[in-house]
């Protein structure tokens, strides 16, 4: 159930200068500092973006399509370099979930999930045990010998999620991971992801263009403008920690989605 008042707190407004820099660095687990990204010398994808993310936060990143959300996530993951600015991160492993499952089709489910540990040199027995555990957490214990071609879209995405969780990441970055799934499957996976976060409390950055998905999942929504991506609004989503499907029909839920929607519109979506 939702609390009496869903307090919505404005965290930062664009252009606000970070005060007490020292304190923030010590406190923040991740710091995107004046990140600027230019493609082909002229297309500005991200303009001077600054974000501070605390350890264990669940942050949804929203914005119109093509606004640079994926680029931001890739820069944070270290897959792309910013043209200017920097990303500072605390200790800990990073995991990344793509828009589609992107499994290795020649490996069965178990060996797909064990892949990250294999690449970082964990012994066979340890990595298979860890993969079993990760698959158990996403509810796929009975599918370990199957091949990706034999799985539904939702199952593939859960395998992809298990593969991300297998290294016990401190930072989990997800790029519209469930966007290609049907609504019911997507809601189920959202619920599963929220539970996994409650249990492990890793720092999650979740890119989405769905206001409802952001509201259901996250504790904070960062809304970016259309290209170049600038910070439009940074909201705290003050809903109960434990969230169930029925939350989606609560008035407080609708109020927050409307607020995010308004911010998206202001950003030129």
């Amino acid at each position: 159930m939702v609390g009496e008042s869903a307090a919505i707190v404005q965290r930062t407004s664009p252009g606000r200068h970070a005060p007490a820099l020292f304190a923030i660095i010590r406190e923040a687990n991740m710091r995107v500092q004046n990140v600027h990204k230019v493609f082909d010398r002229e297309v500005v994808a991200i303009e001077n973006l600054t974000l501070e993310i605390q350890s264990g936060e669940f942050v949804a990143i929203l914005g119109p399509s093509g606004c640079g959300k994926t680029t931001l996530l890739r820069i944070i993951a270290g897959l792309d370099r910013p043209s200017a600015g920097a990303v500072e991160m605390g200790e800990g492993k990073i995991a990344y979930v793509f828009q589609d499952a992107h499994l290795l089709p020649w490996r069965n489910v178990l060996r797909n999930v064990a892949l990250p540990l294999e690449l970082i040199g964990v012994s066979r027995i340890e990595r298979l045990a860890a993969a079993m555990e990760a698959l158990r957490q996403v509810g796929l214990s009975d599918a370990i010998r199957r091949y990706p071609a034999q799985l539904s879209g939702g199952m593939k995405m859960r395998v992809s999620l298990a593969r991300a969780l297998v290294t016990k990441p401190k930072f989990l970055l997800l790029d519209e991971p469930f966007a290609a799934l049907d609504e019911i499957t997507r809601q189920k996976l959202d619920e599963q992801l929220r539970e996994l976060w409650l249990r492990h409390r890793m720092t999650v950055l979740f890119v989405t263009h769905s206001t409802a998905e952001a509201t259901f999942l996250a504790n904070r929504a960062v809304v970016l403008s259309s290209r170049p991506a600038k910070l439009v609004q940074d909201l705290t989503i003050d809903l109960p920690a434990k969230r169930e499907g029925s939350l989606r029909s609560e008035p407080a839920f609708a109020a927050i989605t409307r607020l995010i929607y308004g911010a998206l519109e202001r950003g030129g979506a």
């Binding site: 890739r74 993951a77 270290g78 897959l79 990073i94 995991a95 990344y96 793509f98 589609d100 992107h102 290795l104 089709p105 020649w106 069965n108 892949l115 990250p116 294999e118 690449l119 970082i120 091949y147 990706p148 071609a149 290294t167």
Partner: protein, 260 residues
């Protein structure tokens, strides 16, 4: 799963075509009544039986040269493609020249092959190699260069070594393309061998099918020419089937064309 009925249904059409073709050949040969121009199928079959030892020896010679040429193409083709795929500068500098293998008139360079390798199986196998290597290079390279970029990112995220990237990602995902190259190369290797045998012309006991075709032609035994051509085709078919089987065993779990 294939049932007995399914196998029957898939075998029936080609068998019917074969019977029709043989019947047409029989009718045409009877009407023409010139065994030198077109022998009757029965005469071809008889030649197969009468000359079975010679033909078997020829088939064996041709098979050896074909296998040497084909495996050289497979190994060298995949190796060259790996270097070209890994190294863009080499790709730009060298790939245009690999097209040479595609365009070289094998007839014109046959004397060179004999000069380099002597008039033996080496020259014939080299001809087979030259004719069949290009599709292996081209297809393997295309496969290695079309790895899913997201999977490349994933391997980068976990700081996989170049070795792991090659063995655990690039080569496996290129396997279907490599097999496409090998399937094309198998047929071409037989052609390259037979043409090589024509040109190198090693007459004598155990002469290859290509040589057998020329010597039978000279003595007017068109039915032996037919028998030798048939055996060469069967050799190509057998190679093709063997590669398909290997592809099926390796890829059936994940690559759609191999699943039925």
């Amino acid at each position: 799963m294939k049932t007995r009925g399914n196998i029957f249904r898939s075998l029936l059409p080609p068998v019917v075509v074969l019977i029709l073709a043989v019947a047409a050949m029989e009718i045409a040969a009877r009407m023409l009544n010139e065994p030198f121009l077109l022998p009757r199928p029965g005469a071809v079959a008889l030649a197969m039986v009468d000359h079975r030892m010679d033909l078997a020896a020829s088939l064996w010679t041709t098979t050896q040269a074909t296998l040497i040429g084909f495996f050289a193409s497979a190994v060298a083709g995949v190796a060259v493609a790996m270097i070209l795929a890994a190294w863009p500068l080499a790709r730009r500098a060298i790939y245009p020249y690999t097209v040479f293998f595609q365009t070289v008139p094998i007839v014109a360079i046959a004397p060179l092959l004999v000069i380099w390798c002597g008039p033996g199986i080496g020259a014939v196998a080299l001809s087979s190699f030259i004719v069949s290597v290009f599709p292996v290079i081209a297809n393997t390279m295309a496969g290695l260069l079309s790895t899913d970029p997201a999977l490349e990112d994933l391997f980068r995220l976990y700081e996989a070594s170049p070795w792991a990237r090659l063995w655990k990602l690039k080569l496996p995902s290129a396997m279907p393309s490599i097999f496409t190259g090998l399937r094309i190369a198998a047929g071409l290797a037989v052609i390259g061998t037979v043409v090589g045998e024509f040109l190198v012309g090693l007459f004598g006991p155990g002469e290859g099918l290509g040589v057998r075709i020329i010597s039978a032609k000279k003595t007017g035994h068109t039915e032996i020419v037919f028998a030798a051509v048939l055996l060469a085709s069967l050799l190509g078919l057998a190679m093709f089937a063997a590669i398909n089987l290997a592809a099926k065993l390796l890829l059936r779990r994940w690559h759609a064309p191999e699943q039925n």
